[in-house]
Amino acid sequence: MSERGAKIREISERLLKEGKIDMVIGFRKGTLPMMNEPCLVKSPEDVKNLVWDSNCGINLAKYLIGRKEKIGVVAKGCDSRNIVTHLIENKIKRDQLFIIGVPCEGMIDRRKIASMFEKEIKEVAEEKNKIIVRGSGFEKILEKSEVLQKNCAICIHRNPVIYDELAADIVKEQKNVDRYKDVRQIESMPPEEKRDYFNDLLSPCIRCYACRNACPLCYCPTCFVDESRPQWVGKGIDLTDIKTFHFLRAYHCAGRCTDCGACERACPLGIDVRAFTMKLEKDCFELYGWEAGMSKDERPPLDTYRPDDPNDFFK
């Protein structure tokens, strides 16, 4: 068991026994390799289910929305930033939470690893910076840094920004990361090419809404896709509707998205849905100097303004 996992269990057990919290939201081992699942632990006996490894990519802030209990939540860098966003948006109160911060060294991309092998992967273990993949009749050791999720590879906030107790020492943040390389590449295309790019990108989409459901920012009582009078976006798999859906989904996350990668991870067809959110993240950063979820005391960019905001394209 990993050191972090042991520490998470220790903290959780202590808090549950002391009665400081009603439950812990963390990860347990999934039924498939590289697929940990979120779990709620309510009694000290069940603490043994909690784990921590490089497959904890799901964003646990999603499970805090509107809860009334006192909750211990396991939070890596991006989760903690989404918790801050929830605090700003009054989705949960700070005194309801005991945040178990986990400095994170990136999560591994299960699709990338699966695509490297022809046979089925039966087991994935890890040791330091190596990922050991085993199946029937083969075993291979991979460098973790080469199989990171795309958003983790460019992450610059690996340490939790808000926490009550840490499960490990602070890790070194990545420096000199070019976060917007992919965005700039699309931006440099002429309009027709961009359209083709996004048409290709979205053609596999089956409108399952997994990206929406995995996103910690999506909690509207009625989602715009379910609005029927007026109906802003059709229900079918017409390409215009698909594009409109992804456009609006991303736009709802403008200035709130922490690039946790939960949407992309959840997509059953492996669509790079971050292509939309990253553009907005870039614009928020470049126009308003904003990074989501870094401070509780600052209003998000669409909830505030400056009289001298960029005004170039208004004639």
């Binding site: 931006e187 215009t240 456009f247 400056r306 009289p307």
Partner: protein, 160 residues
């Protein structure tokens, strides 16, 4: 939907093609400017369909996407000059909202000539007419925006 435009026959090869532009005008300024332009007998092209909004702060990306989906070739949003909002700060919020919106729209491949934004006070009838000319020209040059309109297969049964 208040209007629906069948854009399927309109191609660049069609010499009769006229651009369809949806203009979202703020009730307190640009809408008044349109009025003033009319009263002053200023000439501007009839390609603009005006939708009156209470404030540019009311603008939702859904409106603009919906316009394109229903066959508009261009969209123009116009409101009060910064600092002159009837609701004091609506247009400041709108500015941020629309900046991000425009960025993402262009990222997805819409030409910048199809999206226009302006600040026009109710005293600026001339500016309104100028802007209407400019917007129409830009959208005309960009051609029909077929790629964003939703193609609905209409039942082709002939009524005897």
């Amino acid at each position: 939907m208040g209007f629906s435009i069948n854009n399927q026959q309109s191609t660049i090869n069609n010499p009769k093609w006229e651009p369809k532009i949806v203009a979202f005008l703020c009730n307190w300024c640009s809408y008044g400017a349109a009025d003033l332009a009319g009263i002053s007998r200023l000439q501007y092209p009839p390609n603009i369909r005006v939708i009156r909004v209470p404030c540019t702060g009311r603008m939702s990306p859904k409106f603009i996407l919906s316009a394109f989906m229903n066959g508009a070739d261009g969209v123009w949003v116009s409101g009060c000059h910064p600092g002159d909002c009837h609701y004091l700060e609506g247009n400041y919020y709108a500015r941020r909202k629309l900046s991000l919106f425009k960025g993402l729209m262009e990222h997805m491949g819409i030409e910048s000539d199809r999206l226009h934004f302006s600040w026009i006070s109710s005293a600026e009838g001339t500016k309104f007419a100028e802007m209407a000319n400019k917007v129409t020209k830009a959208v005309r040059d960009a051609g029909p925006a077929n790629y964003f309109a939703k193609k609905i297969s209409i039942l082709k049964t002939k009524v005897a």
